[in-house]
């Protein structure tokens, strides 16, 4: 290459890069608002944990005057400037588009993000003293590592509760185990149910009621499907939310608890049954299934267990071909786990009034109804119109209700008090299952070792037991 050509090439590249970089930073700079007086006060005393909430509270009290007139007009465009909303939910392209449409009705927008980077970003923003976002929308488990960085939402909850009724249980889970600091306002709920293709119904065991199955009957059903249809037809999302399956469904149904009974004899029996009678009937590609709706639609799998939002595509596509039903029950009851997503405001948010307006918008019964219809996440407030739902959503709603209201229902709650080590709980349950059921290791050894890990986790975090375990004083003991 000639020298001149090289010079030109590099000059062009560098100029182009600088121009692009300038455009990028210009685009990302517009959302930042000049920091209000309150946050700078907060930064002077970074170590006073108790002091901050009272001072920062002063802004929302003034902002409270605004939402009430806004609540009357559902189509209002907020006058509070741009609200930066990050959500770990609705990250998939199609869901993101639908959610964005709903948000735009209120004049809002959102950015999807993975959980890990979002936590990093908020922590980084807190240490730098500059808030990057106003509202965080995430699952319950995302908030514990952020307890120091989140604002106390209790006043906002009080104001919002004036004209809508939140589900009490979910308001309480937002306390994250404390007595009076609310870290998030409940946003939407979901749970895990089962779905089956109509073709599979004829293979149900004799006398089994699909709405009141036991796990043993489920195993028999899958075995029959395997024998009669030439291949395994039951599927589990092993690459997806499998840990919730174990923590909220299998373990409680067989042992009546989650942590305290982790390595009990009942758990060992359950693992043995899973290894001998369940897993061999499950489709081997389950290892890579993350969303069960795809294998259901492609016909690879006829019976599946998954999160309501990960079954909805199949159910919406061909509602007449599917049946939904509650998860099966075990000797100790029908364990199930409600999952909650919440909305929180970081302490150093640049636009707290706008943040409150957004939360107000998202918890309106009308918006909750739209989210239910289009995204299959269930509401957390009363007064949501559930008539005339799309057929797929209606299918799910019936199963969700049947599951929660069944006579032997045993709700298992999300972990509380594990702080930023919540992920390790998931890993422990996964390890216990994978090692004994998939890898075939000795069940007693596996339970002893993983049980020890579990006890260490409880001791080190000091987390007390949560439902379905009876409350404990101090770290939850693994018996």
């Amino acid at each position: 290459m000639k020298v001149k050509q090289l010079y030109t090439l590099f000059t062009v590249l560098i100029v182009a890069a600088l121009v692009l970089a300038a455009c990028q930073t210009a685009a990302t700079e517009t959302p930042t608002q000049p920091p209000a007086a309150e946050p700078t006060e907060v930064m002077e005393e970074p170590t006073e944990v108790m002091e901050e909430p009272t001072e920062v509270m002063e802004e929302p009290t003034e902002a409270m005057e605004e939402p009430t007139p806004m609540a009357e007009e559902t189509q209002a465009v907020p006058v509070t400037g741009e609200v930066i909303f990050f959500s770990t939910q609705f990250n998939i392209v199609e869901e993101a588009a639908k959610f964005r449409t709903i948000l735009q009705e209120g004049g809002f927008d959102f950015t999807g993000s993975e959980e890990g980077p979002l936590v990093d970003m908020i922590t980084a923003g807190a240490q730098a003293g500059q808030g990057d976002l106003d509202v965080v929308g995430a699952l319950h488990g995302t908030f514990p590592p952020l307890q120091d960085e989140m604002m106390n939402m209790i006043d906002i909850a009080e104001d919002l509760s004036a004209d809508r009724e939140f589900s009490e249980t979910f308001l309480e889970t937002g306390l994250l185990g404390t007595d009076d600091t609310l870290y998030y306002i409940p946003w939407m709920q979901a749970t895990y149910i089962m779905a089956a293709h109509q073709d599979a119904m004829q293979y149900l065991p004799e006398g089994a009621d699909v709405n009141a199955l036991t796990w043993e009957q489920f195993g028999e059903w899958c075995q029959t499907l395997l024998d009669e249809t030439g291949g395994p037809k039951c599927g589990l999302p092993h690459a997806g939310l499998f840990n919730r399956f174990l923590q909220g469904y299998l373990w409680p149904s067989y042992t009546g608890g989650m942590v305290s009974q982790f390595k009990s004899q009942a758990a060992a029996d359950m693992l043995e049954w899973a290894r001998d009678s369940l897993w061999p009937t499950i489709h081997p590609q389950s290892i890579s299934y993350e969303f069960m709706q795809e294998p259901l639609q492609s016909g690879e799998v006829w019976v599946a267990f998954d999160h309501v939002a990960r079954l909805i595509e199949a159910l919406n596509a061909e509602p007449e071909n599917y049946v939904t039903f509650p998860a099966p029950a075990g000797p100790e009851g029908r364990g199930f786990m409600p999952v909650i997503a919440g909305l929180g405001i970081p302490k150093n948010a640049t636009n707290p009034e706008g943040a409150v307006a957004l939360i107000d918008f998202l918890t309106q019964p009308e918006t909750q109804s739209r989210i239910l219809r289009e995204l299959a996440f269930f509401p957390v407030v009363d007064g949501v119109d559930t008539t005339d739902l799309p057929e797929g959503v209606a299918l799910e709603a019936s199963a969700v209700e049947a599951q929660a209201n069944s006579p032997d229902a045993l709700p298992a709650l999300l972990p509380i008090g594990l702080g930023e080590r919540g992920m390790e709980l998931n890993q422990i349950f996964r390890n216990a299952f994978d090692r004994s059921v998939i890898n075939g290791e000795d069940i007693t050894t596996v339970l002893e070792e993983e049980g020890a890990n579990l006890q260490a986790l409880m001791n080190e975090t000091g987390a007390a037991c949560w439902a379905p375990d009876p409350p404990s004083d101090g770290p939850c003991p693994v018996e």
Binding site: E44, E45, T47, E48, V49, M50, E51, P53, T54, E55, M57, E58, T61, G116, V119, P145, I154, D155, A157, E158, E168, L171, E172, G174, L175, T178, D179, D180, T181, L182, A239, P284, Q285, I287, S288, E420, R421, M423, E424, Q427, N431, R435, I438, N459, E460, G462, P471, D473, G474, P475
Partner: protein, 463 residues
């Protein structure tokens, strides 16, 4: 060869070279030496593992003792220190705010007392920002007392005058900032340790005289993270897979690289073309390589298409699943050979160019076959290049990451770099992630030293 300036015997040292290398040194110190030290430290240090107890309920340099996190303790005494406003910005202060309020209780009787600031929602402030009035906040927890107690003094141990429910309006008369200290005693190694510590570090159990150290304020060196890494379920599989891949891939790559280099050498006419094609892989990202080979090995990919087209199979075979881990390894093996041979080849070609033609021709004239020429002339002369290439390639092989994720999904087949990523990203466990990274560093250095020794001694032996 460069001519040397500055090799003067004059006393005056030439400072020019030192100035020139300063930016590089500074940059490398900042971005290599320092993070590496941090990383190694992260792997052996645990923040907040110990709680330092003081002899008096205030921050001082005196130490009464230390207790590890998680210890059960007895709470013997409690003291709330009033912090005057001018000391509020001191570091390491952990404070609670209490409000002095006036309100009417349930019977309409006026009451005046103190209550924790957390329990009051401030609704009115004066011009200076001091709170004037507010309401009692609701209690959301179903297990806590639904009423808010009002105390005689800004102290949780003082008499309770009454209890208010939400949302009773209150007037805020005064505010006090407190730091609460507990005197605790706990046992460690058979010894009783007693002292004062701030309340934020102690988790009080329902029996108010019992507590547990929730977190510490002192860090200590520990091997706990390394132990956790080693006992992790994925550790040994990751080590095995990484070493297996290295053993299987590197010899093949070297043979292939030598062949490629010889081809380029032997064909001056076509060498431009061969040069370019063989070096393509140098510029391809390992993620792209993973995707390319995924398109071949996936269930509906090219390999199955080819086999089905040739009539060898009826239905597509699933290669990349948990039941066929060996196929995943084979796919990774092929992908890595495809990707990384170019690096070795380039080094080998450069080394070959340094071998004088006369030697090769002489060998040919003396009747040496191709194989004999390679074995007795070329390889020994290539030894330095091969040594460098080996070290470089092995170190890079310890870091293989994206290819394995794309083809193996991360759980079925895992390597050390992937485990580092998983600990950091999924489990948010920075310490164990740093432990994995340090382990990779250790393995890299050990192998480099091994190559330096092994290749050199052979050279010395053969003269």
């Amino acid at each position: 060869m460069p001519s040397a300036i500055g090799a003067k015997s004059r006393k005056k040292t030439n400072w020019a070279p030192y100035f020139l290398i300063v930016p590089t040194l500074v940059y490398l110190a900042l971005f290599f030496a320092w993070p590496m030290a941090q990383g190694l430290l992260l792997a052996v240090r645990e923040e907040g593992a110990l709680l330092t107890l003081r002899p008096e309920p205030q921050s001082s340099s005196a130490i009464a003792g230390r207790l590890p996190r998680g210890t059960r303790v007895n709470i013997l005494d409690q003291q709330a220190n009033l912090i005057p406003p001018d000391e509020l910005s001191e570091a390491n202060l952990v404070t609670e705010v209490w409000f002095q309020i006036r309100a009417e209780d349930a019977q309409g009787q006026p009451v005046e007392g103190w209550t924790p600031g957390q329990r009051i929602r401030v609704r009115e402030v004066d011009d200076n920002g001091a709170p004037l009035a507010g309401t009692v906040r609701p209690i959301l927890s179903s297990t806590a007392d639904p009423l808010t107690p009002v105390y005689a003094e800004p102290d949780g141990n003082s008499a309770i005058l009454t209890a208010l429910e939400s949302p009773t309006p209150v007037q805020i008369l005064d505010q006090a900032t407190l730091e609460v200290w507990y005197r605790i005693s706990g046992e460690q190694d058979g010894q009783i340790v007693e002292g004062w510590a701030q309340s934020r570090y102690i988790q009080v159990l329902s029996e108010l005289t019992q507590g547990r150290i929730d977190r510490g304020n002192t860090s200590m060196l520990t091997t706990r993270h390394i132990q956790r890494m080693v006992s992790d379920r994925f550790f040994w599989p990751a080590v095995r897979t990484t070493l297996l891949l290295i053993v299987l891939i590197i010899p093949v790559q070297f043979v292939l690289a030598i062949i490629m280099a010889l081809v380029v050498q032997a064909n001056p006419k076509g060498s431009g073309f061969f040069l370019y094609v063989f070096s393509i892989a140098l510029g391809v990202s390992d993620l792209a390589v993973g995707i390319v080979w995924y398109s071949i090995f996936t269930q509906f990919g090219y390999l199955n298409s080819l086999l089905q087209g040739l009539g060898l199979i009826d239905t597509p075979i699933i290669y990349l699943s948990a039941r066929s881990q060996q196929w995943i390894l084979i796919a990774v093996w092929l992908a890595e050979i495809w990707r990384a041979t170019a690096i070795v080849m380039v080094i080998v070609v450069a080394g070959l160019q340094a071998i004088s033609r006369e030697v090769l021709e002489a060998a040919e004239v003396f009747g040496a076959t191709l194989w004999q020429r390679i074995r007795y002339v070329i390889l020994p002369l290539l030894r330095p290049s091969l040594q460098v290439a080996l070290i470089l390639r092995t170190i890079l092989a310890f870091q293989v990451f994206a290819v394995v994720i794309v083809l193996g999904g991360g759980d079925i087949v895992t390597v050390l770099a992937n485990e580092t990523y998983r600990q950091y990203y999924d489990l948010r466990n920075f310490n164990v992630a740093a432990a994995y990274a340090s382990f990779i560093l250790l393995l890299s250095m050990v192998s480099a030293i091994f190559y330096l020794r092994a290749v050199r001694t052979q050279e010395e032996v053969t003269g």
